[in-house]
């Protein structure tokens, strides 16, 4: 691709909605700034900041090993020595929470990337080729949608085992249909536009046609859906962990930490507080960011969103 094409691809990510094709204002940077200025966006960033600071600065400040058992320190309340207290094995909760934060960000991110890549490919193929292929692909999507998301994820992780890779796979699979639907719908809208026909007559081959002409046109709703899916992805991931399908102990895992705390609630309520707070803060933050991105980029996509 030549220079303008590369630039164009960048613009594609920040695709403006179709009514106002004033592309100069639609660059990713401008839209991100609009998101940051949006009240919900600002609130989301405000919530996410302390968690990120904790995740980044925590390991530098906290001396405790997240998986080291300290028999002399079991079930300690929050103190200067143990900021968030300790669990029934005397492990430092602050260290455990801090070490568990990266994974609750990476797993939903990976799952969303998997779902958006797979879903766009399937949806574009269905919308572009039409015919029996479309019917088969969309029927598969309907079958996947006929299962409650968390149940599907539990089945996948339950059969194949936990860990980051399988959780990304499980969450990616349950989010596949929504991206497929959006991609197909947008492709159907775009493929009939004269500029796509003009490209065909100019001898543009199907793959290039999709990459240069169809993908930029549908990237905006897909991006919005990605951000909206982050919070529910995090929800599903922590729920899987909570139910015992996350990481093998002794790895610190927010959901499992919360599940463990249930047996000690009257004795040591702080065991529940820090993981619960981090999970809720992150979900609240992602929800707010999602709202802001949707408002800025594509208000229409909300209808296709649905829930977990």
């Amino acid at each position: 691709m030549n220079a303008p094409a590369a630039r164009g691809a960048l613009d594609g990510n920040a695709a403006e909605n179709r009514e106002t094709p004033r592309i100069r204002d639609a660059r990713l940077w401008h839209q991100l700034r609009a998101v940051a200025k949006h009240p919900s966006g600002r609130f989301g960033l405000l919530l996410i900041a302390p968690v990120l600071i904790l995740a980044i600065a925590g390991p530098l400040v906290i001396d405790w090993d997240p998986i080291k058992i300290n028999p002399s320190d079991t079930l300690q309340g929050p103190s200067a020595r143990h900021w968030f207290g300790t669990d029934q094995l005397g492990r430092d909760l602050a260290a455990r929470v801090v070490s568990a934060i990266p994974v609750v960000i990476w797993v939903p991110l990976g799952a969303v990337l998997l779902a958006v890549t797979g879903g766009s490919a399937i949806g574009i193929l269905a919308g572009y080729r039409r015919g029996w292929l479309e019917r088969v692909l969309m029927a598969g999507t309907d079958v996947l949608l006929a299962m409650p998301g968390l149940l599907t994820a539990i089945l996948i992780v339950g059969v194949f085992g936990g860990g980051s890779r399988n959780m990304i796979l499980a969450i990616g699979v349950i989010y596949l249909p929504r991206f497929t639907r959006i991609a197909r719908g947008s492709t159907l809208e775009v493929r009939g536009l004269p500029y796509v026909d003009a490209a065909r007559l100019s001898g543009t081959k199907p793959l290039a046609l999709v990459m240069r002409h169809i993908l930029p046109g549908i990237s905006s709703p897909l991006f919005v859906m990605c951000v909206l899916s982050l919070s529910t992805g995090l929800l599903v991931q922590t729920a899987l962990s909570f139910l015992g399908f996350g990481f093998e102990p002794p790895t610190a895992d927010l959901g499992r930490m919360l599940a463990n705390s249930v047996d000690f609630l009257t004795l040591a309520p702080w065991m529940a507080i820090s993981p619960a707070l981090v999970i809720t803060l992150l979900i609240l933050a992602f929800n707010n960011l999602g709202d802001a991105v949707r408002d800025v980029m594509d208000p229409e996509v909300a209808r296709a969103a649905g829930t977990v």
């Binding site: 030549n2 164009g8 106002t20 094709p21 592309i23 100069r24 026909d197 100019s202």
Partner: protein, 351 residues
């Protein structure tokens, strides 16, 4: 504008740039409605386009002229019949546009804004055919600037986005892209209809100039018979998927004789108030019949001002009625008399 001399009939067929043999496009309606009808967008059309001529196709919206244009360039495969390009039959079922580069056929659309990818710069869009030919970047830029110049756009537009251009500029850019691959034929599908009047005139003149400087043919599709007259060497009139009148010879002075053609032409205002006031406008009554549920006999009989009982029973062939044109009407050439009679009848009856 005519370059090649008219040939004898047999030679002409071999030389024809494009020949449509009994081309039909029937869309099956799938969906919730009862049954699911068939839209006969184009129905058994024969047409020949020779090198160096401009064919005008005129008709109301929904008459199938756009679909016919898409068949010509190869974006739409006919459901029946053959498309023969320079004596070579086009494969029946193929990917839309697969033949485009071999045929050298291009299209310019009514929707000027929609015919340029909004996420790409103008220069990028114009260069698309060149890029697909594998042209190198410096040469490509050179050629794009040349094309911009030819369609009367400033060089600076090369780095702008479609949204920053006016409708007229967008359409000129679309024309530049169509010209980029040195096409043999450009289908202009309502190419100026969405522009305002003065811009329309400019773009029409540009198209005429370009045709004089380049060996390119046009198929000029429009609902506007005045524009079609201005642009074309000969005219085809379409009604509900059929060609009802086709001029054979390249004589623009000859009047059209099909009742539908006459009513179309009578709708054009004459730029002389005295004549205009005295002019007899024929106003069609009744709705356009639907392409899913075609009338029996002659498709136009439900609205024709001179319809006779015969018209509802028998469909007229597209037959030679004069030296200059073929008409599909049982009463071709009798319009004036019969119309006068019909008017006398209704005035008397209601009166």
């Amino acid at each position: 504008m005519k370059r090649a001399a008219p040939d004898a009939d047999s030679g002409k067929q071999a030389m024809a740039l494009l020949r449509l043999d009994g081309v039909s496009v029937h869309f099956r309606l799938r969906g919730r409605g009862r049954g699911g009808g068939v839209v006969r967008a184009v129905d058994n059309v024969d047409l020949t386009i020779d090198e160096g001529e401009v064919l005008g196709i005129v008709g109301e919206s929904g008459c199938g002229k756009t679909t016919l244009g898409r068949v010509i360039v190869g974006l739409q495969s006919p459901t029946a019949g053959n498309v023969v390009v320079r004596g070579e039959k086009r494969p029946l079922r193929q990917r839309p546009g697969a033949n485009a580069r071999r045929d050298g056929f291009q299209m310019v659309y009514q929707d000027a804004a929609g015919s340029l990818n909004p996420w790409k710069r103008i220069g990028w869009s114009i260069a698309e055919p060149l890029r697909n030919e594998g042209m190198r970047k410096p040469a490509m830029r050179e050629r794009v600037l040349e094309l911009l110049d030819q369609v009367g756009l400033p060089d600076s537009l090369i780095d702008q986005y479609p949204g920053e251009l006016s409708g007229g500029q967008q359409q000129r850019a679309a024309i530049a892209r169509a010209l980029a691959g040195r096409p043999r034929l450009i289908v202009l599908d309502e190419a100026v209809s969405s522009l305002d009047m003065s811009t329309q005139a400019q773009v029409l003149n540009l198209l005429k100039d370009l045709a004089e400087r380049h060996p390119v043919n046009y198929v000029f599709i429009s609902h506007d018979i005045a524009a079609v007259d201005f642009m074309s060497d000969r005219v085809a009139v379409m009604y509900l998927g059929k060609i009802v009148e086709l001029e054979d010879a390249h004589d623009r002075k000859s009047p059209l004789v099909h009742p539908y053609s006459i009513t179309l032409r009578s709708a054009v205002p004459v730029p002389d108030p005295v004549v205009e006031r005295r002019r007899n406008r024929i106003v069609l009554t009744g709705p356009v019949a639907s392409a899913t549920d075609l009338p029996s006999g002659c498709r136009f009989h439900t609205r024709c001002p001179i319809a006779q009982p015969l018209c509802a029973d028998a469909e007229p062939e597209l037959a030679s009625t004069s030296e200059t044109s073929r008409v599909a009407c049982h009463f071709a050439g009798e319009f004036d008399d019969r119309y006068a009679a019909a008017r006398a009848g209704t005035t008397g009856g209601s009166g």
